[in-house]
Chain length 402, copies 4
């Protein structure tokens, strides 16, 4: 897969310049279970985290979701943890920049503009602190109360990837209003008293992603910092657009893991075939890897072309509910193709590489642990309802079926 | 998947205008095991078989292999037999037109030009009579001897799809020369004395494709009609380019079968879901179909973009051996994605549709028989060596592996 | 798999003596779409249809469900249609004989005894005319009214395999009583006025199985011929025992198809390997077939051992609801292993055998059509709820999970 | 699966009494990467390691390979590392005991008898130090030279599971004789000067199995301790019998991992289904797990019945080469069924259990790492030639194919 824009090519070449260092840090962090501090700092310093900001604000004006996915993919080849940690920052920055690009106005647009400025200036690294254990995205328990002209936020967020390295926390809360609870979104600077990053992530894989808990204990943010959304507890169809844009580039992670794994597999085959004819068993493993890779690249390429066509230059919130559902369906289906392919290619490569790949610090041994995180990070939430969503979405569209 | 060129859109809309009639003929031909005579005649009369000829010669100047594949795909939705019968004519016409387009010169170019003229005028329908039972494409037994200023061709060709409806037979022969046997290619008009079309095809599927034997018994063709190739018996790497261009559009057949089958599946689900909640079993069947379809469309789209980029406007024979091998590898891998997806989607749809789909004349019952022909028509020959080719091709490219 | 009892060995050797003739008839019937008349007559004449009757009544006293499944399996190797046609007769005869064996008493037992006598004397061939289009087994529309001391039965049954060759129809009806509708079971002799066998089966496969409709038009049967069951419309958990015993031996059909298909595959490999080294592609196809066969044989062997232990000598209706559900779960799960394996092995064999297997009258081409009938004949009804049943059954048993 | 002998039931109940402690140690060892010292000591102390010894020598006289596999299976449910470490000791003790049981005579039989005595007395724990990096079992580099009436052994063995806890090392060497090099087998006590256990195992999984290297540096063993085998470098068909007996019980490891994983999966489903209806996605995951489990149990049950029938009471070395090959083929094929099922069931269970299963110290997270070791420990060596062996074995038997 190749970048489609000059901005994409630039961002990818910046990633490639760091590849070797990222790969070494990845091995170390995996072993120790520590956050990818050096990697994230390098991504910030090299401007990779600012790539979506407009050029005049210090970024590359990377607007293509296809290219953004490739940036994530190239990060994942070296370190899936860093890719996951960077991913949410990147898609949020893309989202903020799109608000600017499409000329949206109002307080929310002003906030997005100011964040773009900070991101372009390499002064803001965002962590999406949205998830809570046992809660849907639209039923957060973390709540905000208006006290003395400021919002006071309290609650605990989980699997907040990138939290140890973030300067800001993009947070979803339950806002208690007189007309009942509503969803709210607010950016909380790390320097706010009451913010505590627990650094308690200890996953099977993605060990350097810093996906632990964040606690907010009476954190005060200005009244104008809160964006009010719909009623709390109501899943909003319209919001699928935002979820598509913020989850599809994550598919760069399994794609990058697959590419990286198969590189090991191919090298092993080259070595073996120099010594003796390959066995039928090996030919099967290798050819299946090529077929899986073809499916994954194909599905991802076609998906990202569809998303770029429909989302890249569209003003936020202007996509119809049904079009949002179609995009989400395409994202879920393509996501599964890539997920299955990545898992299978890593398994095939592990076999091709022989026992060496079973050493705890072999890259493939790390990749096979990293990739399983996909089970819990599918585009549609909850991840164990993806089939149900897919079918419901197909049935909803009468015209799709003729 | 959508056409990329205006010519493609035109050709597809011509096919769509015929769809219902093609579908009805398909059912009848399947039952009786008879050739798709009416369908092929309609394709000729409506100019679909001439679509690749230049506009000035009566065609649409369809140059995109992507679009040509979609033409085949739309035919296959209605009748895979007609699609297979038309396919070889179409890819040969594309090949002849490319010779013109790229400004090639010499006797071969002149022949291609004259054929384009006939095809554009709807006076030529080509059957590729190349295969022979138990022989490789590069070791034909059918031979040509120069006698009294003419080539005398004798031999028997097999699985010559479209033979009952063809006006000409594009044939590969063993030419006995004084310096040893060489491969030769010659177009034999059906009116030539000694041509016999056996109409002995009785397949499990593709029953209307007319894929029986053709016998040449001392058929005389003019001396200047023969194109001499390399030595007989030697597989020519360079020729992979031609094989890619002539086999990739055939992937429209499984793609069309998959699209058509899943339409039945979706309709059945809609009906069922109007009566009761779908079972988990049905949700699994339906969601897997969506995932498979996504993989197939993705792989085919990306493949055809690559072929259009590398082949559409390239002069014949100018692709390097190694680039030809890469294109063939991509074609084989994508072909397997599509083949597997089509087979699976038809199986899933049969289950979703319940026992009705098991009636001998249900379209799905025909589709499931038709699609198995793919096992024997893979892009690489022989089809049971596709894994071996794929792996050999990967290993040959040192730089691919770094 | 080998027979466990002497009676089983005898029955199988009788089948094997007929094998070649059955195979030839199978080819003819498949082509013409006609019922396996000669085959069923031979099975009757050779005592194979009477094998479950006690020795003193003319049978072999075959009591093992494992062995009965192998009888069906050996039939299916030669002709899946005859195996399906014979299957329901065989399992009903087994069921009647078990009633005798376990010393059950009452009018139902007397009926079973009289049927055993007829079956042992080779004078009764039973067709199970239970299914109705769009109805569950427990909601038949065919109804019986008591008029002038006799039951008058009217209605239409579908997919009544073996109907063209049957002397009796084992039928389930809705009995209208003063306390509301109940389920009833009755054996209707073919000679009864009003019985019409439509011979309208025209399936994709199992073309010789005679699985068409049977119509009952005011058929009068004696008052004492009716066995009254529970309330109409209520699915009875207890009845799973009967459904297990009557559907598990049908798994002999896919097993036999798999064994037969892989024999073709192995022969083709032997031929090929005598000429040249096998390709990696072929090695993959062949080894996967061996693995699938191992899974299928294993699952079927273990299932039948469990059924023999729990059902063979148990009085009818004495199994607990929960034990019946466990046996059904085991049957469904093993059934899926065998179904998947058989389908895959046939596909693999078709590829190994090359284009010859795609001829409409090749045994593999028939096998691949026959085996798809399994999609609609799974042990649990409805077949597209098997996953749901399996999971519900697992969850129902708290102790199973600890 | 249930034990078939009283001895098997006893051994399993001893394992079950330890289960909870084994499971706790397993978690600790996995985290620290340290050998299962406490577990192996408990297995020794409780007589589990002596179970194959005759009763009169202190064992249980466990003779059934089926039951021995179940002992390994029950160990693996609690700790796959301990199961692997115990496995080789157990199969060797079974092998020694069989020599006694079948009345073999000669120096080798005497050695086996003496080892049985030590094992029964709980004084001997064997490590199989046979493998060497990059070497086949029949081409060891470790060599033995006769010097001053003793064999002097030097070399390095790898993946010597259980080495940190072993009292003896069962070793294969290259014996340099005047007629050329031969294979030799020798038992080296750990107390021998020059033995060094490196404890350098650091695997992705099986972290408590102690599968590191063992070095022999001029280790002297008495002249009579060496068993001379065939010529060095020649793969002996006859030896497949021994390899079957010593590798088949290892299939208890994936089987136990599958059973254990699915227990977690079922628990999670029970919890979820108490709160809400299961999704179609979950129903698919759960039903597939049941089907896979059925295939695995079936294949393993049938395999072990075959091995018990052919090997349990047969004198060593009396099986024909071709029968040994058939048993190995059955073992390889069943092994793949179990391997695939175990991998799939663990993956399915991880998804059913949600994100909790992705914590580094969750049992499923350990199981999924442990089970991949199977890729490198298949019954046939080398593991990446299993397909080739399977097909070669099928083709070798003409009569198998008829």
């Amino acid at each position: 897969m190749e970048a489609k824009t000059e901005a994409g090519r630039q961002a990818i070449s910046r990633v490639e310049a760091l590849t070797e260092r990222l790969a070494n840090w990845a091995r170390h962090n995996d072993r120790s279970g520590s956050f990818a501090t050096e990697s994230m700092e390098a991504l910030r310093a090299e401007g990779i985290l600012g790539t979506c900001a407009p050029v005049e604000l210090g970024g590359d004006n990377l607007t293509s979701l296809h290219d953004l996915t490739l940036v994530v993919e190239h990060l994942a080849r070296a370190d899936a943890s860093a890719a996951v940690a960077a991913h949410m920052h990147l898609v949020l920055s893309w989202y903020f920049a799109r608000t600017l690009r499409t000329g949206a106005e109002g307080p929310n647009a002003a906030r997005h503009a100011s964040w773009c400025r900070l991101i372009g200036a390499r002064e803001m690294v965002v962590c999406s602190a949205v998830s809570e254990r046992g809660r849907f995205p639209w039923t957060p328990e973390t709540c905000a109360e208006l006290k003395q002209g400021a919002w006071v936020v309290s609650g605990r967020k989980s699997t907040a990837s990138n939290s140890p390295g973030a300067t800001h926390f993009y947070t979803r809360v339950r806002v208690n209003t007189t007309e009942g609870p509503r969803l709210g979104t607010v950016m909380i600077p790390r320097s706010t008293p009451g913010v505590e990053v627990l650094e308690n992530w200890d996953g099977l894989g993605l060990r350097g992603s810093g996906s632990g808990d964040v606690e907010f204990d009476d954190c005060r943010v200005p009244a104008e910092a809160m964006t009010l959304g719909g009623p709390w507890g109501q899943e909003e169809g319209r919001k699928l657009e935002g979820r598509v844009a913020s989850t599809a580039p994550l598919l760069g992670v399994p794609m990058g893991l697959a590419e990286s794994a198969w590189k090991y597999g191919r090298r092993a085959l080259l070595r073996l075939s120099a010594e003796r004819p390959l066995t039928g068993t090996e030919i099967h493993l290798a050819s299946d890897a090529e077929v899986c890779l073809t499916a994954a690249r194909g599905a991802l390429t076609v998906l990202m072309a569809a998303l770029d066509a429909d989302l890249t230059n569209r003003a936020p919130g202007t996509l119809s509910v049904s079009d949002g559902s179609i995009l989400m369906r395409q994202t879920v289906a393509a996501g599964l193709v890539v997920e299955r392919a990545a898992i299978k290619i890593i398994e095939l490569s592990m076999q091709v590489c022989g026992g060496a790949a079973y050493h705890s610090s072999h890259d493939l041994a790390r990749n096979m642990r990293d990739v399983r995180a996909l089970y819990y990070m599918r585009p549609y939430t909850p991840p164990n309802a993806w089939r149900d969503f897919l079918v419901a979405s197909v049935l909803k569209e009468a015209d799709y079926v003729l």
